[in-house]
Amino acid sequence: MNAIIALSLFGISNLFLGFLNNRKILLPATLVFILIALGLNFADWNHEYYWFNNMLKTNNLSVNFVTIILLSTFLVVAISRSFGDDDEHSHPAEYYAILLFSAVGAIMMVTFENLIMLFVGLEILSVSMYVLTGSDKRSLRSNEAALKYFLMGSFATGILLFGVALVYGATSSFDIHGIAQGVAKAKEQMGGAYGPLLYSGVILIMVGLLFKISAAPFHFWTPDVYDGAPSIFTAFMSTVVKTAGVAATYRILSISFPSVYGLWGNPLVYIVCATLIIGNITAVYQQSFKRMLAYSSISHAGYLLITVLAKRPETNSSLLFYSLAYAIATITAFAVLMVVSEAQAKNGKADESFEALNGLANNNPLLAFSLTISMLSLAGIPLTAGFFGKFFVFSDAFSNPSSLFKWILVIAILMSTVGIYYYFKPIIAAYMKKGEVAKIELSPLYKFILILTTTLTILLGLAPDLVKNIF
């Protein structure tokens, strides 16, 4: 948990590092900071600690989530390339600091023991993301995205806060274990029914969190914001924010409200189905690779929520595995998209559409290969991490006796076939379409990250028990 303190301090020191004229030092410094935080995080392994007057709690599950979050942050920072050489428009010190701060928020969202901490964590994460979304300040799209995200996001946080207040009214506790007891007591008093306070409270909390992980029907902001934000921050948003959001949802629903499963489980079933269908079907029609990735992130929120819904003790390991596989593959995809669209923009050609990738494989075999592996993983083809992610999630749904899960399973399986269609579009563009992408020079670090993520994806596809046994 010292990771939180350390990361906050590192963020501030990052701001001061920005006063130095040497921009080169920022990237390695931030990477080292994240690695230190990762090390501090591992110190909590195999202990159960309460922190800050029972505000946060660490256990192995939270350590695993924090590891995924920090790993994703590390990868995103590593592919940021100091945000270019544009002195006037980019402020790397601030960006790195905000990234570190938002990682703090994300960590709080997976370790909270008190709903106040959930709120604070969510706000830290969200406010940082509003800023980063609008960081391309001369771009109209970026500004629009930031404003949209801010307006809708602050409403969502308000709704969440309202829900927290109502739940407090029903159970007179902010503590998630206290709430669980309060719920049980209230249920006893009401003779098995639940009062309107609790009912609306739980639903509103869920709405607030589902907004953050862009589950349908709270997903409308996602495509525009993902599209408008600079790609590097979109990569961060679709991995770290999503992991933290799903983890928080899982945490609160499984700890505080397991005894009222019917209350949140039934609406969640429809939300999962809607998310899967809307995410996948809409992604088919996208012409822009980046927008397709936005819809794909919506669809993956659906698969992730299946584990939340399955409500078995084993499902947290599926959730972890899926998040990890998804994060690695998504970051690889964005890494390729970023360099390619930049190179194409220099030539004055199309930017983030699939056409930008045409003929990528001819001169850039590494980029094309990493892209292929990441797309295969997202599509869930065997021998990649994504396949086992889907496999575990489907197994969870299968082993649940409820008949609703059979419907979810049918939809999830149909939709993963739809997914294959659009995940193959970039592969087709890179290998089969005629086009020319000049040789793109990659820095050694960038190459290393691409090789690392690709290797990890294949490795987890060959031997998932390597990490599944830890989770």
Binding site: R312, P313, E314, S317, L376, I381, P382, L383, F391, F394, S395, F398, S399, S403, K406, L409, I413, S416, T417, I420, Y421, F424, I428, Y431, M432, A463, P464, D465, K468, N469
Partner: protein, 551 residues
């Protein structure tokens, strides 16, 4: 020596070698590939020679623990690297060796991006042959899915004008089917227990090697009485344990006694139907066959050869390896439906083949028709029928490879595949005409060629079977007449009459040495296997008699 692993990993490693070797060796890639497939063929023949005909069980077994997953309350998941061949897979492995070798020879004409092509071709070889030898369902599924990727690129990059459409259609169809297989695979995995490993876990024995049939029975009894704590149950994908009803968890979905219903439908029947759809797409059976003509028309010749020669057989093989042994009672119940789809494929495919003007499409539809006989034979559930089905798969593998090579010969010279663009080729290309005539006659089921044996035995199975009405098989027999119709008509239109070729100025050369070296051996094989059918039947008989005891 782990000979089956060599068979899988030799091409996979060779594929990496090709992928990473420098450009100056470009000219040798094809020779290298040919060499590797020749070694593969040699190993397959060695296996064929050393295969014990009297043993029904799996031979040349190789087993390694691969993935072990603790699943909490669900128990332990175990995935093994498990290989072996029996009477059903042995002919398929041999066929793979032959067709892949011929395909490599035919690939000599590939003139762009050789590195990618030969590397993918070798990858395909490894995964196809692995699919026929995998005895762990997970491993099977892995190879099954994995072979789609090289195939997808082989059609999509080296294919004809509509290659993108054809390749993605091929991919989506097969993948859609394989997702059905995935569902059943997960359900089976959650239902089936590995009695051997469970015995080790609960301390009945110390080591896997100490296993005896008594111990297995003991574990199965404990399982039936719910006496094993659920954390110690080892779930498995092992296909050897799945046919035994005793290995199913008592309250699981697919246990025959639990009678689970899904959407008011028996879970076992549903699982069987899903498997049939999944493998039926691969076979392909009408009405899920539409990817096949497209894929064939766009694919380059060697890829067509491999597609028709081997990939289609995986559908039929999947029926016999997975669907039938695990769900015998459902298979009996639905025998009529399965055979009906088989007969539909025979007739529908044949009528379509009659109507086609594109030579490749004609042959593609003739494949649909011929694979219908496989479905008929398997569905009949008689010894003749299933033996005939395996025989038909082998024979069709050889013959369709030959047919597509023959189309390739013509297409290489004129870049035209329309039947009505040719007339009287017999005058200019006598050898080519002779080869085509042999392939056509062998395919339409002329006695003394291999096609005849396959078709006759499947039809015999159909007539003998108590499960299906005679009239259905009689309709299937009518398919033979149609087959003769489209083959002979094509033969007549292309080869007889006065010589004329549309928009072609040069002279048509007869077969070159390379083409001869591909076609002659295949023609001889079709003849040899037609005269000595016991060469295949000896392999399959023992295993299939054992299989039929389940019904």
């Amino acid at each position: 020596m782990p000979i089956l692993s060599v068979l899988i990993f030799l091409p996979l490693i060779a594929s990496l070698v090709v992928a990473f070797s420098p450009d100056q060796f470009k000219a040798y890639f094809k020779w290298f590939t040919l060499g590797v497939t020749a070694i593969e063929l040699a190993i397959c023949i060695y296996l064929y020679q050393n295969f014990n005909h009297d043993v029904a069980d799996y031979q040349f077994l190789e087993q390694l623990d691969w993935i072990t997953l603790p699943l909490g309350n669900l128990g332990i998941g175990s995935i093994d690297y498990l290989l072996g061949v029996d009477g059903i897979s042995m002919p398929m492995v041999l066929l793979t060796g032959i067709v892949m070798f011929v395909g490599a020879l035919s690939s000599f004409q590939i003139e762009q991006k050789e590195r990618g092509y030969f590397s993918l071709y070798l990858l395909l070889t490894g995964s196809v042959i692995g699919c026929f030898m995998a005895l762990d369902m997970f491993l099977f599924y892995l190879f099954f899915e994995f072979m789609l990727l090289p195939m997808y690129f082989l059609i999509g990059i080296w294919g004809g004008p509509r290659k993108e459409y054809a390749s993605i259609k091929f991919f989506l169809y097969t993948l859609f089917g394989s997702i059905f297989i995935l569902i059943v695979m997960i359900a089976l995995y959650l239902s089936v227990v590995d009695p051997v490993e469970t015995a080790v876990r609960i301390g009945l024995i110390n080591d896997v090697s100490e296993i005896t049939p008594q111990i297995i029975t003991e574990v199965q009894n404990l399982l039936k009485d719910l006496k094993i704590p659920s954390e110690q149950i080892v779930h498995t994908f092992d296909l050897r344990f799945m046919p035994d009803a005793g290995n199913f968890l008592p309250d699981s979905w697919l246990n025959i006694l639990s009678g689970t219903q899904i959407f008011s439908f028996s879970a076992r029947a549903l699982a069987f139907i899903l498997l049939m759809i999944g493998f039926g797409i691969k076979l392909p059976a009408v009405p899920v066959h539409t990817w096949l003509p497209d894929a064939h028309v766009e694919a380059p010749t060697p890829v067509s050869v491999v597609l028709a020669g081997i990939l289609l057989k995986i559908g039929g093989y999947g029926f016999l390896r997975i669907a039938y042994p695990i769900f015998p009672e459902v298979a009996t119940e639905y025998a009529f439906v399965i055979v009906a789809f088989g007969v539909l494929s025979i007739i529908y495919g044949a009528f379509n083949a009659l109507a086609m003007n594109d030579l490749k499409k004609m042959i593609a539809y003739s494949s649909v028709s011929h694979m219908g006989f496989v479905l008929l034979g398997i569905g009949s559930l008689t010894s003749e029928g299933i033996n005939g089905a395996v025989y038909q798969m082998f024979s069709h593998g050889v013959l369709s490879a030959m047919l597509f090579l023959l189309v390739g010969v013509l297409y290489d010279r004129t870049h035209d595949r329309r039947i009505d663009s040719y007339q009287g080729l017999a005058n200019k290309m006598p050898l080519y005409t002779a080869m085509t005539a042999i392939a056509f006659f062998a395919s339409l089921g002329l006695p003394a060629f291999s096609g005849f044996i396959g078709e006759v035995f499947t039809l015999m199975g159909g007539f003998n079977s108590p499960l299906i009405p005679r009239w259905l098989t009689a309709i299937a027999a009518f398919g033979l007449v149609l087959g003769a119709g489209y083959f002979l008509w094509t033969l007549q239109r292309i080869f007889f009459g006065k010589y004329w070729v549309r928009q072609f100025e040069g002279t048509l050369e007869d077969l070159t040495f390379r083409e001869k070296s591909m076609l002659y051996p295949l023609a001889i094989l079709a003849f040899v296997f037609g005269i000595f059918p016991h060469l295949i039947f000896d392999l399959t008989n023992a295993t299939i008699s054992e299989l039929l005891k389940l019904f």
